[in-house]
């Protein structure tokens, strides 16, 4: 395999793996703030217990996020040197700001949040939880602004030496693409956190081990997950779709599996793109829906893949198409599950409806898959460009790092991350088991 291909695989693998952790911490952070607020507002110690329990899971997940995150920054230089030389003067801004404004904040307050509850007292401890939330969500902003510049470059000029120079800080940090991507992405993280809380609640109720807290988790989890899931479709998903329609029309065609330009284009639910015959096999679709969603007009003309030069097509159309459809399909299922769960909760049936609890419990991995599929859609959709319209992916890798060296580190990352996965699963399962006896025991940990 060529070095460029291996560089791509390594980055895709390490970033996909990394993002499993931050999406959970970014999702849990606002929930923990809500728990801490409820504890103060309702003067109910049980919400503090809930915050402590999820705080520990947050802590472990945060650590895994940190250690798998540093390789991301390094790989810009190690594996994508040509890209970094070209774009570093622009996106380096947002990456450096992430470190200065988000990581320092998070690292300073995670210790205080986890081990300082007694020392700080109720209100200051709430502040540490709130600052952790601010830190994780600020970090999300800067990294999405970085990605947004690659998706939709703004506020730059090409200097005499051929590299991109920043010309507008405001354009970079408040990139239109970043705003809508952020709203959509943070919603996705929130869904992951809410599903995790609801799922564990369902497990505690079903296993009859910790029913009181199980109900508490369920109540908070399903309401949050319901709000989050709807937000993902409308308005944030809709906004994001219109952004792609506007700036990356060829990507839209590939995502939707639309080969030929069509007036009144249908929305495909399921089907297999056949790249050889240039058609969609076994398509099940809603007539005229794609035209309406993209242009708010039933007969609107949607450009198909064939309208664009071949060298501008995303280089893996079927994978892009499937990623997008998996994301949307799962998102729809989330709404169905959580609207039902909230309705059942409202009627007072939820805690005794075992079939629904089983569904809620088993659903926890699905948001991870949906978020991953969403990012695959965004990143495969950007291809063949590394910086949209400016630099092709094939020109971005480090020119002197040989494929053999990249394969060596790729295998190393496989091994390292396999071990990390086992450790993470082991530690989380242990926390869940401990939760059965610790929750309600009012035990506050003060040190390592």
């Amino acid at each position: 395999m060529e070095a460029n291909t291996l560089d791509r695989i390594q980055f895709a693998f390490t970033i996909t793996y990394h993002y499993l952790f931050p999406q959970l911490t970014m999702g849990l952070a606002p929930l923990i703030v809500i728990f801490k607020s409820l504890a103060i507002w309702k003067n109910d110690e049980r919400w503090n217990e809930a915050a402590r329990f999820w705080g520990k899971i947050f802590g472990i997940t945060f650590l895994f996020g940190v250690v798998t995150g540093i390789p991301m920054e390094f790989q810009f230089g190690t594996n994508w040197a040509a890209f970094s030389k070209y774009a570093g003067g622009v996106i380096g801004q947002t990456l450096a700001m992430e470190g200065v404004f988000a990581f320092f904040l998070e690292s300073a307050f995670i210790g205080l949040f986890l081990f300082g509850e007694k020392r700080l007292g109720r209100r200051l401890h709430w502040v540490t939880a709130f600052l952790l939330f601010v830190g994780t969500w600020t970090s999300g902003w800067f990294i999405i602004a970085t990605n947004a510049w690659m998706q939709h470059p703004v506020g730059y000029e090409i200097a005499a030496d051929g590299s991109a120079h920043l010309t507008s800080f405001r354009a970079l940090v408040f990139n239109e693409w970043a705003i809508y991507q952020y709203l959509h992405n943070m919603g996705g993280a929130f869904v992951t956190g809410a599903f995790a809380v609801a799922s564990l609640g369902a497990f505690y109720v079903l296993s009859k081990k910790q029913v009181e807290y199980g109900k508490l988790f369920l109540k908070a989890g399903v309401i949050a997950a319901c709000v989050g899931s709807i937000w993902m479709l409308f308005p944030s998903g809709d906004w994001k779709g219109q952004l792609v329609t506007k700036y990356q029309p060829v990507t839209l065609a590939a995502m939707e599996g639309l080969f030929d330009t069509t007036e009144g284009a249908p929305l495909v639910l399921i089907g297999q793109p056949d790249m050889e015959k240039q058609r969609l096999d076994n398509a099940i679709h809603i007539p005229k829906m794609l035209s309406f969603l993209s242009y708010q007009h039933w007969e609107a003309r949607v450009r198909g893949l064939n309208e664009f030069p071949k060298d501008q097509h995303p280089d893996n159309v079927p994978l892009l198409y499937y990623s997008y459809h998996i994301m949307v399909g799962l998102g729809t299922i989330f709404i169905a599950i959580m609207v039902a769960a909230v309705f059942w909760l409202w009627r007072g049936w939820l805690y005794s409806s075992n079939w629904l609890l089983w569904i809620v419990m088993l659903a926890f991995p699905l948001p991870f898959i949906a978020n991953t599929a969403g990012w695959l859609t965004a990143e495969l959709g950007r291809q063949p460009w590394l910086v949209y319209g400016l630099m092709r992916t094939e020109h971005g890798h480090s020119p002197l790092v040989s494929s053999g060296n990249v394969l060596f580190t790729l295998i190393g990352f496989f091994g390292m991350y396999t071990i990390l996965s086992l450790l993470y699963i082991f530690l989380i399962l242990r926390r869940i088991e401990h939760g059965e006896s610790e929750l309600g025991a009012a035990e506050i940990k003060e040190a390592y």
Binding site: P71, A447, Y448
Partner: protein, 344 residues
């Protein structure tokens, strides 16, 4: 403007070495001062709530380097490909050693992570020292502005160089010894009883080793890269730096013998700062010297656009003021000695 950023990036890297240096140093001396499981738990608790914040200096310095000198970032990171990826793995292992150890109340679990923590910290120190050694020695940059070095070749400092040669390995050993002393100073400051005594003894004995390797490294630098003295002859004020190295070495010994732990720690901080400062002063305006001086990367040919550097200065100064606030607050909250009694 590029000189300002050169100084600011150097400042951030020095902060990283000084702060994370005592975490790494604690890992190096982990077994020497913690003779049983509960003592080693104390060693880790002495860095527990702050190591992560210290590590962020590396990420923030990396990001700052990236936007201020993108050509340097791409050239150096791709050229040092293998050792940097290994540093990433070691950082993962080090963090796991610190944070996972206390997750389980099981002796075998503790023993395993103690070992991982010590090994990863020791190797990190050597890698960092060797990396600095490479920058001082110069790398085989060509006219494209890139280079690639294998881990080792013929162990010589000219021609087809590797990351490791006799010189860079010596730099790695200097870093290893210096951080061990620095870490032991931190542990002496943060602990009491037996661990405190052992830490102070390590500083006291390690000091002789530190003096020897420091002297050796200075002689070696003058052999490998004599032009490093150019800046010193041009700006004689630079000679204050080696004087500071010398003075801080004396101070380490003096305060250690007197049992004034805080001053001893500040002295090893000053030692690290002045050693790095001396290298930085000698390198300028180079940021990555080439073996063939025509291809060296300097602050002038590796910098980003002027607008970006100016606007960056505004948020950087603002951000750093907040960061210093955090660290002040954090170190104050967790000040004082950690005691074995507060464990579990």
């Amino acid at each position: 403007m590029e000189t300002v950023w050169f100084i600011l990036v150097a400042f951030m890297l020095v902060c990283y070495v000084v702060l994370d240096g005592f975490d790494i140093g604690s890992g190096i001396v982990h077994y020497l001062i913690g003779k049983n499981g509960s003592e080693r738990a104390t060693v880790i608790r002495a860095i527990g709530p702050i190591w992560d914040g210290n590590e962020v200096w590396l990420i923030a310095a990396g990001g700052t380097l990236y936007f201020a000198f993108p050509a340097l970032y791409s050239s150096a990171f791709s050229g040092f490909y293998l050792p940097l990826i290994m540093v990433l793995w070691l950082l993962i292992l080090r963090a796991a050693g610190i944070e996972l150890r206390h997750q389980l109340d099981n002796e075998m679990w503790h023993e395993f992570w103690d070992f991982v923590f010590c090994l990863a910290s020791s190797l990190l120190a050597i890698f960092y020292g060797a990396a600095l050694g490479n920058v001082i020695r110069g790398v085989p940059l060509d006219e494209t502005g890139y280079f690639f070095e294998p881990l080792f070749t013929h162990w010589g400092v000219t021609g087809d160089t590797g990351i490791l040669d006799w010189f860079t390995l010596l730099c790695g050993i200097v870093a290893f010894v210096a951080l061990a002393v620095h870490g032991a100073n931190w542990q002496a400051l943060k602990t009491e009883g037996e661990i405190n005594k052992r830490s102070r003894r390590i500083v006291s004995k390690g000091w002789y080793l530190l003096v020897v390797v420091t002297a050796l490294s200075l002689i070696a630098v003058l052999n490998v890269r004599p032009v490093i003295l150019d800046n010193y002859s041009a700006y004689p004020v630079g000679w204050l730096i080696p004087i500071a190295v010398f003075a801080s070495l004396i101070a380490i010994k003096y305060f250690n013998a007197k049992g004034i732990e805080k001053q001893a720690f500040l002295a090893s901080t000053a030692y690290l700062g002045s050693m790095l400062g001396g290298a930085v002063f000698g390198l300028y305006p180079n940021v990555l010297p080439a073996l063939d001086p025509n291809y060296s990367l300097t602050v002038h040919n590796a910098k980003a656009g002027n607008y970006g550097m100016s606007v960056g200065l505004i948020w950087w100064v603002f951000g750093m003021m907040i960061v210093i606030g955090y660290f002040f607050f954090l170190f104050r909250t967790f000040k004082g000695k950690v005691t074995a009694a507060s464990h579990e």
